[in-house]
Structure formats: C-alpha cells, structure tokens
C-alpha cells in the first residue's frame, strides 16, 4: 500500500503568518519621509577675506518674511498666493525687462541652446517668523521652479512632464533651470510693517 505523502500541517503556517503580522503591526511605522530638499551654503571661511559677490541688482530677487508673517518681495509687500507668479516672471523674464535678470545662452545636451537665467532668489527670514510660513514660502518658490521645469520639459521633450523624464533628460532640464535659491546669512531683523 502506497503511503500517503506526509503533508505539512498548513494550519500552523497560518498561525505563524498571523503572529508575524501582529509583530509588524506593532513594531513598525509607515514612515513616509517626504519633504522639501535643499542644499545649505557652506560656512564662509573666517580666514579667507570675503570678496563681495558681484551680483547685479537686477539678478537678485529678495524675498523677506518678517516676524509678523508678512512677505515682502523685491521691495513690495505681497500675499503668498502671488509669490509663485512673481518668481516665475523673475526667472523667465519673457520680455527681456532690464530690471529682471539676464540670461546666458548655454548649450545643453539633449536640449540644445537654452537661455539660462542668472537670477537668484535670496530668501531671508526673521527669528520670529513661523516655520509654517517659511515652509509655505519655500514651497511656493519650489513650485515656481517646478512649473518652469515642466514647461521646458514639455516644450523640448514632447509634452512630457518633468517627473516623467529619464534620468539624463531630467538633469538636462535641471541645468537649464537651476534651483537658485540662496539663504542670506542670518541676522536679527527687527520689526515688520
């Protein structure tokens, strides 16, 4: 008589799986680490004499957030909803306004010649500014650059959005539209109108 093949008792497998599940449920978190990436400027060398960076006034856009959570852009008081468009206008300079940044025609692989803006957004905040507003401002700045990058990528890469591009295409667009956001050296700024 052929012996029946010893089958593994499947009932205990279910128990083990159940136990492991409980373990994972209590011991882990679905930690989604999302956030806004930035690169901080390196500390200035105290020994090296600071040569004043010769940046033309037209190439800088000062964004200041006061401790009363007011935003001032390029000297004029603004609401956060207008920030993104103002930044886009600054970076793109569509009408070659002499008060807005210059651009430099650069040859980039995969894109060809592109007028890369020399504009820099200089972000300053007071020690009393709320972090929430600071993040919202950083977000709007990022949104402005991301929208420009999407526009460039759909123009040059057949209507594709920046996120859908390949690694090399993405770095080409990044070279064309660099994220030029600089944060000023911190100092105490009083008041806020």
């Amino acid at each position: 008589m052929a012996r029946k093949i010893q089958e593994i008792n499947a009932g205990s497998m279910a128990d083990i799986a159940f136990l492991l599940l409980i373990f994972f449920l209590v011991a882990t978190t679905m930690n989604v680490d999302s956030g806004i990436q930035r690169v901080l400027p390196p500390m200035p060398d105290p020994n090296q004499k600071q040569e004043a960076m010769d940046v033309k006034k037209r190439n800088i856009m000062l964004v200041f957030v006061s401790k009363f959570d007011n935003i001032m852009v390029g000297g004029e008081r603004m609401d956060i909803t207008q920030l993104k468009d103002k930044i886009k206008e600054f970076v793109l300079n569509p009408n070659n306004d002499p008060d807005l940044p210059e651009s430099e025609m650069t040859k980039i692989d995969l894109i060809g010649n592109y007028p890369v803006s020399k504009g820099v957004v200089s972000l300053q905040n007071d020690r009393g500014t709320s972090y929430n507003l600071y993040i919202m401002v950083q977000n709007e700045l990022t949104r402005a650059f991301n929208e420009i990058r999407d526009e460039v990528s759909s123009q040059r890469f057949n209507g594709m959005k920046f996120m859908d591009l390949s690694e090399e295409q993405r770095s080409a667009v990044q070279k064309a539209v660099p994220l030029k956001i600089s944060e000023a050296e911190p100092r105490n700024i009083e008041g806020g109108k």
Binding site: A17, L20, L21, F24, L25, A27, T28, T29, M30, N31, V32, D33, S34, G35, I36, Q37, R38, V39, L40, P41, P42, M43, N125, D126, R127, G128, T129, S130, Y131, N132, Y134, I135, M136, Q138, N139, T142, R143, N146, E183, P186
Partner: protein, 134 residues
C-alpha cells in the same frame, strides 16, 4: 498577503519620540531617497508626559534624547561615521519640526549643520494637494 504588504512597506520604528510635532504641509515635496543615508532631527514641544519636567518650550531631539544646538556638530560626526566614505557625501539630514516652531531655533540648527558641513537638508513636510484658503 497583508503580511507581505507590511513587510515591504514599513520601516522599523527607530526611536521613541520625546517631542510631539505636526509637520507643516507642502505640495512640492519629494520622497527621501535612501532612508539609510538619512539622519533625523526632531524639533517640537516635549510630549505631554514629559512636559511637567521640561516645560513647553520647543526642544531638539537627536536620536533618543533631548539635545541642544551645541550637540549637533557631534551628532553629525557620529552619524557620518556610520556611513562609508562615498556615502558620506549623500548624507541628508531631515529636519522634522513642528509647524508652530519659530524660525529662531531652526536657523540655529541650520547654522550648526553648515558648520558641520552637512549641507544636504530636507525640511520634512506632509504632502497636500493644495492649501486651504487662509
């Protein structure tokens, strides 16, 4: 099935939280690429059970204890040592701060990070699709 789901999508909870914080919301967030190369700095009010001892002013937590800004240099150095040479350049510090924090403490943290040459930072934020009208 659910087991496999949990196994692949979660991470071991590393540290006990000593501060409570609600991350600010933002639309243009990116996922942190390599969790193994990330160090975390938590800033927020102490959790209710510890508030009696430490009060309600915002605190910095590095790994598992309250620290001050002076400790950040040391913290970065020790986090760096855990990584190999070529990974060091890619180390990212994720700042998880409560949305109500004032920029003073955040600016101090950033200055310390610059001194420690940990220049890649990420301001942790929850992804939202848009802001509610204020």
């Amino acid at each position: 099935m659910i087991l496999f789901f949990f196994m692949v999508s979660t991470t071991m909870r590393e540290q006990d939280m000593l501060v409570k914080f609600t991350l600010p919301a933002a639309t243009e967030v990116q996922k942190l690429e390599k969790k193994s190369l990330a160090s975390y700095i938590y800033i927020g009010q102490p959790i209710p059970s510890l508030q009696a001892k430490h009060g309600t002013a915002p605190r910095i937590q590095l790994n598992d204890s309250y620290k001050t800004t002076q400790d950040i240099l040391e913290f970065v150095a020790s986090e760096r040592d855990k990584l190999s040479e070529n990974e060091r350049l890619q180390m990212t510090v994720s700042i998880k701060a409560d949305f109500m924090t004032r920029m003073g403490i955040i600016t101090d943290v950033k200055q310390e990070l610059r001194k420690a040459n940990a220049l890649k930072v990420q301001y942790a934020a929850q992804k939202t699709l848009g802001y509610e009208p204020m």
